[in-house]
């Protein structure tokens, strides 16, 4: 790739679901260190874009590059191992395990699970998991089964699981949906500080425009599989088409 700053680039990706355009010849780059927000109405292709970047959906045309190396349609596990982690719109957790156990498994996954008979519950992993738990403020539920947590905390645990992989690029699918309006900014503050500290690039799908305005360095606006606006939050939110397509619909 010619652009030195680009961490992730997609070129001409196209995906159709039974005639519905989820991605229509999209070309763009995500720059190192940026917090990029993706906004758009339901069905505009936001989650599909994350699914393409992580290998869950194979584009019918086009290619995805991570630091110039093609990763198009590699299985999710290979893409994860190359440094792209994601969180999910609906939390994806190991529901019969505690928050700490979930995190320790994620840490072990980062180090490789094929490592003999040393127990998962070992001092180093426990310390690192507890550090993450303290970072996002889940101390009071560290020993609770994730399946029994309320939605907002599950969401947070889900994001932390991705964070534990120490990714270079973190994709967040609506990190604040299901979280109460009061906690929303606290959580985003913690999260964004943690990401900045770890020099992690982030791409997040978001419905709350106030969250976007506060935390995004750049906003991509999706409409029926295309990016119709791309720029600083203030510039984008002033755009007539964006107001019509997204802000009107939300």
């Amino acid at each position: 790739m010619s652009d030195e700053r680009a961490l992730l680039s997609v070129r001409g990706i196209t995906v159709n679901f039974a005639g519905v355009k989820a991605a229509d010849d999209v070309t763009l780059s995500i720059n190192r260190g940026d917090f990029t927000a993706i906004i758009g109405a339901n069905g505009s292709g936001k989650t599909t874009f994350l699914n393409i970047c992580t290998g869950y959906v194979k584009p019918q045309a086009g290619a995805v590059y991570l630091e110039g190396r093609e990763i198009t349609a590699l299985p999710p596990r290979n893409i994860a191992r190359q440094g792209i982690a994601r969180s999910f719109q609906i939390p994806q957790l190991f529901t019969d395990q505690t928050v700490r156990e979930n995190l320790m498994l994620s840490i072990a996954a980062r180090e490789g699970v094929f490592q003999g008979f040393t127990p998962l519950d070992r001092p180093e992993y426990r310390a690192e998991a507890d550090e993450l738990i303290a970072l996002v403020g889940l101390q009071s539920v560290a020993d609770t089964l994730t399946g029994t947590l309320p939605e907002g905390l599950r969401k947070l645990a889900d994001v932390t699981l991705a964070l534990a992989l120490k990714p270079r690029l973190l994709l967040l699918d609506e990190p604040t949906s299901g979280v109460s309006a009061l906690e929303r900014f606290d959580i985003m503050n913690t999260l964004m500080n943690a990401l900045r500290e770890r020099e992690t690039t982030a791409l997040f799908v978001e419905h709350d425009m106030e969250v976007v305005r506060r935390y995004a360095d750049r906003v991509l606006v999706w409409d029926t599989g295309s990016v119709i606006a791309d720029g600083l939050p203030d510039t984008v939110f002033a755009d007539e088409r964006v107001i019509k397509s997204v802000l009107g619909a939300v």
Partner: protein, 321 residues
């Protein structure tokens, strides 16, 4: 239960088993067989942890048993230790080969494909008369132990304690495996395979290891059964035997290592009482017991019974194309 209490109970159980040949000598033989089958049931229980049900695992029990028969008859290997090592090695290799295909599949495909392969092997064992002795099976001579020859009853007494020591040693290793990251990843295949893959872990490789280990365990059960009974039959691979293993695993619970052995010993006791009255109905009793455990005692099966709410809501809630 606190760990200390648990260890005390386990130690008590092992001691009670060690004393059994002295207290109830006529039960020694059935208990050897029960312990042997316990290994195979432990193998089935391992896969159950990942939510995968093999209804053909008697295949590997039979492989271990026939491997022992071939080694002692064809290759002239008579030492018990070598027979065990050889049979386990053979079933491990077969487990890895068969497993590489099987662990691509989940749920009913996994169950039925295992059943299909076991039925193929059963019919080959029964048909290839010149190689396997057909439906008559093959006799397995009494093995030597470190070059010493024993008569059958002496050998049986030694074999009982060999099996008991193996339970402790192998049980400890399997316990450590389940506690390791790989063991946790195995359970994670059941609770959320998609997330596991997104953590960069290959569910296929995690399952292949588990399948291979489970085949090795079943093979170990097979060689112990073969030398205890002194005879191998195609029926070892028959699906009713696999059903028995599934019941044993479910009955003992899939949480710990001791469960399948307890289940096996309990069932063998029941069987030895029932054999006089209801031999024709033994599968029926197994089936009813299986249903009773699932209906009334599902605690031992952990998340296996609980409805997969989380997974379902994933499909329902996402409307973003």
């Amino acid at each position: 239960m606190r760990p200390a209490t648990l260890y005390l109970l386990l130690a008590g159980g092992v001691l009670a088993m060690a004393a059994l040949p002295i207290l109830l000598p006529w039960k020694q033989f059935v208990m050897t067989v029960a312990m042997a089958k316990g290994f195979a049931a432990l193998g089935v229980a391992l896969l159950l942890r990942a939510g995968m049900i093999s209804i053909g695992h008697a295949l590997f029990l039979a492989l271990g048993a026939y491997a022992a028969a071939f080694m002692s008859r064809g290759a002239g290997i008579t030492d018990l230790g070598l027979l065990i090592l050889g049979s386990v090695a053979i079933s491990t290799v077969c487990g890895a080969l068969v497993g590489a295909y099987m662990v691509r599949y989940r749920a009913i495909f996994f169950a039925m494909l295992n059943l299909a392969v076991s039925m193929v092997v059963f019919s080959l064992l029964a048909k290839l008369y010149r190689v396997t002795g057909g439906t008559d099976g093959m006799r397995v001579p009494v093995p030597t132990i470190f070059g010493m020859e024993y008569d059958k009853s002496q050998f049986d007494a030694i074999l009982y304690y060999v099996a008991l020591v193996l339970i402790v040693a192998v049980g400890f290793l399997v316990h450590r495996y389940l506690k390791s990251p790989l063991g946790h990843a195995l359970a994670a295949v059941h609770s959320n395979e998609v997330r596991l893959e997104y953590l960069g872990v290959s569910a296929w490789r995690v399952l292949l290891v588990a399948y291979t280990v489970s085949a090795a365990l079943a093979g170990l059960g097979g060689v112990l059964t073969a030398v205890a009974v002194g005879h191998v039959l195609p029926e070892y691979a028959y699906w009713t035997e696999s059903g028995h293993l599934v019941l044993t695993a479910v009955l003992g619970g899939i949480g710990g290592v001791a469960g399948p052995f307890l289940g096996s010993i309990f069932l063998e006791f029941v069987h030895s009482f029932a054999v006089g009255y209801a031999d024709d109905a033994w599968n029926m009793i197994n089936g009813i017991a299986l249903l009773l455990v699932i209906f009334f005692l599902p605690q031992g099966l952990y998340g296996l019974i609980a409805r997969r709410r989380a997974a379902k809501s994933v499909m329902e809630r996402d409307e973003d194309k």
